[in-house]
Amino acid sequence: MAIIQKVKTEWKKSWQLYLLVLPTLIWYGVFIYKPMWGLLISFKEYSVFQGFAGSDWVGLDNFTYLLSNPEFWRAFINTIELSIGGLVFGFPVPIFLAILLWELKHAFSRKVIQTVVYLPHFISVVIVSGLMLTFLAPSVGVINIIIRHYHDFILSIQGHLSWAPWLAHLLDHINLDEQYFMIDPAWFKTIFISSNIWQSSGFSSIVYFAAIVGINPALYEAATLDGASRFQQIRHITLPCILPTIVIMFIIAIGHLMDSNFEKIILLYQPATYSTADTLGSFVYRIGIENTQYGPATAAGLFNALIAVVLVFGSNRIAKKISETSLW
């Protein structure tokens, strides 16, 4: 057995190194890979008393149960809508922010702004949710107070607008009423996506900023000599130079599309907003952890994972084709 011989000699040569790496490998085996095996619960009717091995195989029963469950489909559609909404509105913001920061040439102000915009990333999901509930609270929340002030302001000037009825009309239209945002299903997605953008854009801009710093300054100097405006420089130098970074970050974002930040969802949603807020992650938590329907919950997670895997490989392949940049 050549392989055993090989292992023996390698162990003798560097047993110290194997000793150093072993605890981590065991940890990954026990806490990450062993539960992957447990994903097979998707095909079982899990019984608490008989455990994993003793539970009966039920084939695709859990999946057919899910596919006939309207709550599952609602969660699936919400997951997709929230992810795509988050990607469309959220993905460009850090790129934009990094460019703005780069164009700010005053080093100290730049440092101050960077320090401030990274901060929300380090705040816990519980605090962020708490802040959101406070800000969006009915009547006492800051957002509703601002709406109220705005109302009063419009009322006070409307009397003076008889000379311009169209303006009064327009102001009437862009009026927003005070409301209880967190129990209104129509608001949930907007609130959720904007709060994610608020929390992550600053920190995500670091990667793009590092890419811009790495651009050869001679390019900008030559462009300035040729009379290129700042906009033209952004359009023809900055953006093309950071395109590979953008593509990589985009692939990574696609790979995380199905994650949907369910921790925050279960902190913010409530039965009144399930119709727009419930995602696969929160659905799994609710039926699995709260109602102990382990089989169907695991199946829903596996379903989610399969889509994620397809997305990672698919986006990587497309990126390879169109821009010759890819993760592997």
């Binding site: 605890p23 806490f31 401030v116 901060l119 816990s124 519980v126 406070t134 107070i145 009379g227």
Partner: protein, 295 residues
Amino acid sequence: MLNYSVGTKDKIFNIVNIILLVVFALSCVYPFLYTLAASVSDGDSVTAGDVLLLPKHINIESFKIILKDKIIWTGYLNTIFYTGFGTFCSLVMTITCAYALSKKDLWGRKLFMIFIVLTMWLNIRVFGVIPFYLNIRDLHLTDSRTGIIIGFLMNAFYIVLMRTYFEGIPADLEASAKMDGASHFQILWNIYIPMSRPAIVTVGLFYAVARWNGYFWAMVLLQDENKIPLQVYLKKVLTDANRNDEFSSSTFGSITSPETISAAIIVISVIPVIMIYPFILKYFNKGANVGGVKE
């Protein structure tokens, strides 16, 4: 089209740029400033909507009330323990493992790396919440402090970051130490660790922030009130108080209100993060730019 000179155009560009950045930056700090102001204002002013940026009728009653609460102290101490000890364990594992994996002649190194890095995509804690939970339960680690410490030790990303940093340390240092008969343990302890302080602090701070902020799994795994970390307690107070308003009738019209109490709780739990935040940035700049995220 108006025909501005290049200088004027430049000025307009700069002004727009600064305005956009300042608006974004303000949106990032305003919630914290408001919360700080609300926490030291009196309840009626906050409820009436008089506090928007500056505090009104300054007092610290809300802080007195929450600091009398025993569970918040327990939560605080638990969080300090989970953060301190958990980060220490994570660092020991990450450093030792990254050191071994930074040796290019280690047989099987590539396989080990794939084994570890794969978990960045196959995130069992996101897609396999139930199997992960059942596994912890089968190991009898639910409702236990050990479970919280041991179940969430590693993060593949930081192993990679650490390894990349170690690979940048000149190999001749190690070679000469080996000539003097030093073991790997001695080389790691006497050469690698002292030379990688920025990277170690950076990774440690990130582990610590994740521990400090960790909520979901502590909420799922811990039932005993004596073991729950601050975040789980915070959730109970913040979201539940806002939802069923049971607080408000009992304390309405007094010097505090549910809003000021929530604000005070947010302040005392965010303060430690704000305090280490400058260090995070300082070391992050050093650690990450030297050897880490830039390939």
